[in-house]
Every structure is written in structure tokens, then in C-alpha cells.
Symmetry: C3
Subunit: 308 residues, 3 copies
Amino acid sequence: MSKSISPLLPIVYSSEVTAAKARGAPLVALESTIITHGMPFPGNLEMARSVEQIVRLEGAVPATIAVIEGVLHIGLEPEQIAALAQMKDVMKLSRADIAFALAERRSGATTVAATMIAAARAGISVFATGGIGGVHRGAEESFDISADIEELARTAVIVVSAGPKAILDIPKTLEMLETRGVPVVTYDSEEFPAFWSRISGLKSPLTLPSPAAIANFQRMREQLGIDGGMLIANPVPLEDEIAREEMEIYIGRALASAEREEITGKAVTPFLLDTIFHMTGGRSLKTNIALVENNARLAAEIAVAMNA
Amino acid sequence: MSKSISPLLPIVYSSEVTAAKARGAPLVALESTIITHGMPFPGNLEMARSVEQIVRLEGAVPATIAVIEGVLHIGLEPEQIAALAQMKDVMKLSRADIAFALAERRSGATTVAATMIAAARAGISVFATGGIGGVHRGAEESFDISADIEELARTAVIVVSAGPKAILDIPKTLEMLETRGVPVVTYDSEEFPAFWSRISGLKSPLTLPSPAAIANFQRMREQLGIDGGMLIANPVPLEDEIAREEMEIYIGRALASAEREEITGKAVTPFLLDTIFHMTGGRSLKTNIALVENNARLAAEIAVAMNA
Amino acid sequence: MSKSISPLLPIVYSSEVTAAKARGAPLVALESTIITHGMPFPGNLEMARSVEQIVRLEGAVPATIAVIEGVLHIGLEPEQIAALAQMKDVMKLSRADIAFALAERRSGATTVAATMIAAARAGISVFATGGIGGVHRGAEESFDISADIEELARTAVIVVSAGPKAILDIPKTLEMLETRGVPVVTYDSEEFPAFWSRISGLKSPLTLPSPAAIANFQRMREQLGIDGGMLIANPVPLEDEIAREEMEIYIGRALASAEREEITGKAVTPFLLDTIFHMTGGRSLKTNIALVENNARLAAEIAVAMNA
Ligand SMILES: [Mn+2]
Ligand SMILES: [Mn+2]
Ligand SMILES: [Mn+2]
């Protein structure tokens, strides 16, 4: 289901990804919004490096995706990651505007939706992130819903996450994923996780016990001709989690701050994450890094299984 | 618009369907959730047999669709229908999980969405059911909306129903079908039906007077390159209907029971149908069978007209 | 991404469009609902002629689209426009029913969604209209949302408008366009317009300063393999605008009238536009004509740039 790439598309593969494609090695896409909008420097750079290293240790090749000065990068060289981690005024790109950054020669970090698009075009079928976007709390009035759900319904990429970001309305996000026909599989647990917490209070729609089973499910979807991706929810390791009851207090306060300060649109999620970072004295960030690393490991295992 | 079938897909055609495909005979897909989750045994088995027989009498060939131990069946042999009608712990499969049942070698009954996917893959363009899923009452708060609407917006199959199940919010279901661009055609009436009742209080978006006109409309959609299916609403025969005012009382009570007993997710619709069955002393089931038979007849006529 | 046209499709190109296609001239699609349902005769006819003439003056060829007695017309001859402008009981066609009008040999005017479908099938990639449909005020309860958003998410046509019709809920319409991944670009302004007014109080998601930049963005989307269209918002000229505060009073009163008179479905938008026409002593219509002409000019410039 991957579309052919136009020869006019300004796309560059890192040396590591180029070599991996030449020898048919398994690849894992990584997003860049988490680097530019999700964490402060220099923690974001350390996280980006560590996540790439984890993918390599599991036998796959990392392809961090970003738009730099109008060029779509599939994999970043070490100095490019370092530069991105300190860049200011980077766009936050989704389905609607990833091509805008290319056309206008801007720089931008890719959200889940835009990373899925880039990965699919580059022939990469597995992607690790922290948490996906979804239905915002209050969306029944605001209609504020991430394009990540649309992308999961359209683009055949396996997205490995710790669930939707817990600042969202998780029950409504699950409902909308079901409505749009997106499989939601929790890895090795019947309980759907809530990003910083292993427990959301919701039963997972589906559960699979191994990377091989996940790869097999995706292959069967392709054999049946079903397009669209799937969401893997990978609970944060027990030693890193923050209990849901505790997190809900911080989330409630952060949402109240955002409303008071009239934060809207694409600024909402970065504002909430930053507010929660300060409220938890940095613990939320430590957990966030742990869950991204955990997801990178599982994604690499799935990519290896898909290649088998 | 049908996609090619992967040689790796575990798919089996019944002997009757195989013969029909060989001679180019018209086919009608039938769903299996109505057998496993919609009616108690042995009424469900009698209904399944009777519906298949009606399709045959109209000159078409029935293809009841289900997943049995990891194999997608397009058409069931008589002993398979008998076994399915008594099977326990059968999954209820939709777009998100039909491939899951195949991959994990499970058994599952197909909802409208999953039956449409299977029918399209098998080259069957007409499908008879009782009522489609849609927007649940209270969805403005719960976001509980069936994937059947997504599938109608995507997959080129004519779905013959008695309208959305009347336990749903019918006006919101019609709005969402319009938003997603799905044609809604009431057969031979300007009044949109309400499953057990001939009258919903709503005017039908479109009306057509004959199977040939329905077939012609679908052909024109294909010629214009519009993908997605269409919903045919076929009012239940007058002698079998239960008046809308009466049904609304039962539905209201059943919804209150579901809330009290905290029934959620895929369990809601079977619970409501069962509760209403008991409230009406079985009349709701009799009407349900009558409308499915009525739909099978019309679907066969449309399949014959599509073949002409 | 244009699909091949079936030889059975009843489609006719005007002599002017036929000649333009032969010599590879830039084409601009124009909708017909604005003629049949948007303005009274003879103002509607004058507007239709003037808009076509503006497209020609900018070096492109107009293709007004309508269904007449079961034939899809890509471009209308002068006498056909004159006849359409006075026709009664013309259907208002969207994604769900454009093929219905063809199949049943009816006549119908095309909304934004249906015009996009017809334009895409005819190989026309730019389309000028007044304002698009979107999320109706009160949609959080009514679920009344136009199929125009679905079409923008699916069909690769650039739609040049003055924003969504201001009778709609503009913030919710912007949210839903983002959710569905549709680019929203305001031409040469950072402020998103509100149809009759240059100002909506909302920042535009994206801004581009020239027809060439818009053409370049669309080309980049195609090179990246992203399907779907984009919405260009072109603010009404300053000398023609009616201030937003003033318009909001009329809109509020017109909505109250519609509710009082129980106007529903496809009749709502024409009723509101007509009520506002009377409330403003015809000024709203003068502005509407000015903005359509302004959009035709920009669309022609984009079509020329796409051809370069
Ligand atoms: Mn948003
Ligand atoms: Mn549901
Ligand atoms: Mn509507």
C-alpha cells in the first residue's frame, strides 16, 4: 500500500537508513515533535539519542523524521539531531501542513500523523512514539480532536505508544478509534494504559502477548486488504509509572491553568506537558522518557518480527 | 474497486458459492452477528436457514459470512450454520478486529462493517442484514458511534436493512451518513423506517421504487468513480410491524436498564435486543425475523438486477 | 490521482471546455448551487456570467458544473446557464446524491462536495465558490455537518472560498478541518475571514502570499502522496465587506427564524441566506457577489500557476 515517491519530492535518507534499506534491515520511524515541543533541552537530546540506541540494540535501524529547511529527512545524522534539539520556532507538523513546510522551505517537527505519512512513503511500517493525540477533554463542545486518529484510519503504519496522552479524554479517544475502525492492541495486558500510568480503568479492546503476534496481525490486515494503521498501547514499566489518581490531580490543575491563560490550538499540549513537568518536579518527564524508551524497544522487536 | 486477494489469506468459499461464482450467478452476502448475538437458539438457526432459502427462491445465492477458527468463510455449509448457531464466546467482529480473529485463529461473527469488508473482498456487492449500527443515543456525550458508518463511507457494497436499529439515535445517524456522503435510499416509500416500525417520523433522503433502479444508481456511482457503499432502508411489512410509539416505550426502559446495570461497549446492543425481547413477550423477535427475511428478498432482487 | 472516466458515464463538456482541454489551457470549476439556491433571478444569472467572464480575463477557462436531465455538464453553454438560473425544483446535489440525479435523469445543482467530485473526474484541480459548508451552529447536539468537509479530506481539488459560510460555527469548522487533515490557507492575511466579513476573530492555520505559492503547496502535497484537497480562504475586498459585529446580529435573528419556522436539512442554508438578504436590504447579496467574483479571480490565477 505504499505509494510511489515522486522524483520531485525533496527527501533525504540518513546514511544509516540508506545502508539499512540497501540490506533490507528492519526500520523503526521516530517522531520529532517530542524533541522540539515535548521536552526541554538538553534532556530532549539525551532522550533522542538514547531512543535511537535502544532501537539499534534490538537489531533495527532508527529513522527519526523531521523537515529541515524544506527537506523531508528520513533518519537524522547525529549533528542534525543536536541542531534540532536546540532549534527555535520549529513548526509542529500534521497531515494538513507537512507539505506546507516542504513547499515553503521551513523547518518542522513531525507529530504522529505526519510521521506516519513520512514513514509510509519511505516504506517504514513500524513507528515508536510516547503517546498519540486524540479527543481532547471537552471535545463534545470544542470539537478539538487530533488528526492522529484520521491518520491511523488511513495509513498502514503500526504506532507503538503508551496509549493516548493522558491529558486527553481516553474513553472518547477509544470510542473514536473504534468508530474509525482502528485496532487498539495493548501489549501483554488486558488493561488499557494511560501514558504515565499502567492503568486507565478501561479494558483494552484487544490484547496480544508478543511482537510476533502483533506483526502477524498486521500482515493479516494487509492480506485482507484493510488499509489504515494500528495502535499498540505498551504500558510504562512498573518502576517508572506515576499512579493514575496522582496524575489526574496534576492534569486537572494544568487544564485549569490552560483555560485561565487562554491557551488554544497546537499550543495546548506543549503547555500542559510543561505545566505538569513543573508540578511533578520533573518526575513526569522522567516517566515520559522511560515510556518512550520502552516503546522504542517494542517497536524494534515488532520491526524485526515483520521482517522475519 | 475490489482489491486483489492475497494468496496467504485464509479464506474458504462454500460449495454453493464456489459454484455460483463459476457460473456468474448473483450473490447476496449475509451477516452472522444476528445469528450469534442477535437471537436465541434455536430461533436464530431457523432464521438463518429461512433467510438463505429466500435468497435462493429469488434466484440468487446466499453467502453467510463468518470467521471460524481463523478462516474467513464466504458462505457456510449447513452443518457450519448449525454449529455457529450454538457456539459460545464467539467474537463480534468489526473493521478493527476481523483480521485479529483470522490472525489469532479465533471464531467470530461479522457485524455489518466486517461483512461489508469480506463481501467486497469476495466480489459480492449486495448484502442483507436486519438493521445497521450507527449513532447511539447519548453519543453527543459518549462518542459511541458504530464503525458501520465508516464502512459505508468506504466500501462499495449495497447494504439492505430496515434502517438503523431503532435503539439508536436515528436522526443523528442520518446526519452522520449525510456528513460522510453515504446515500440513504428508502425502498418504495418517502418515509424513513425505524427497524421494527415502518415510520420514523423522518423523511427519507432518497427514495427508489424498484430493485432495478437501485442497481442502476449503484452502477452510476461506480461510473462516476465514487467509492463507498449505500444504505437501502426497506420498511418492515405492515402485518409484522410494531408501532413506533409502542416500541419507544420499550426502548426507553431497556436503555434505562442498561445504564442501571452498567452495560457498555459491544455488549450494549445484544443486551438491549434481549431486554426488548422479554418486554414484548417475543414479538420484537418475530418482527426482527420478518424484516430480515424481507430484506433478504429485496437484496436478492437487487443482486439479480445488478447482474442483468 | 484522477480516476479514469467510465465510457458509460453520461458526461458532456461545453464547447469552451473541450477546446481548453485540447490545448491544455488552465480550467476553473464553478458550482451551480449558488445559481439555483443561493440568489434570486436575475441577479443569479448576472453573477454566473460575470464570474465566468472574470475567469476568462485572468487567462483561464470557466467550467460551471451542473446535472441537467441526467447528464453531468462540465461547463455550460450560455443558454444552459440562462435556463438553469430560472429552473424550479432543481435538486441540491452532494456526494451522496450526485449519481442519483444522473441515474434518475433529474436536474440538480452541485454543492461544493459534488462540484469537487465532478471537477476531479474531469481533471480540473481548481474550483471557485462563495463559501464552503461545514459544522452548523448547534452541531454538538444536532450532528448537522456538511459533506463538504468529507470531500475536502478525500478529493484533490483546491477550493477557493471566502471561508465557511458565516451562518456556520466557524471555530468548530476549523477544528474539524484540522481533525480530517485538510489544509486551510488564508490568502495574503493571517486573519481567517468570515464570508461577508474580512475578520473572524480567528488566526488562520496557514497563510500564503501568492497564487504561485498556493500552486506550489498543492504540488508538494501530490509529490508526498497526500490525497484530499485544500481550502483557500480569500477575504472579501474591503470595500465590499459587512462588519462581523453587524452580520452576527442578522445571523442570530435568521437562525431564530429558522428554528421558529422549523426549517431543517438542505433547506436551512437557502432559508438563512434569503432571510439575511431581506434583513440587509440586499446588501448581503451584493457582498456575496463581490466575494464570489474575487474568488474566481484568485482561482484563475492559481489555475494558471498550476499550469506553469
Ligand atoms: Mn487540535
Ligand atoms: Mn460502540
Ligand atoms: Mn446538513
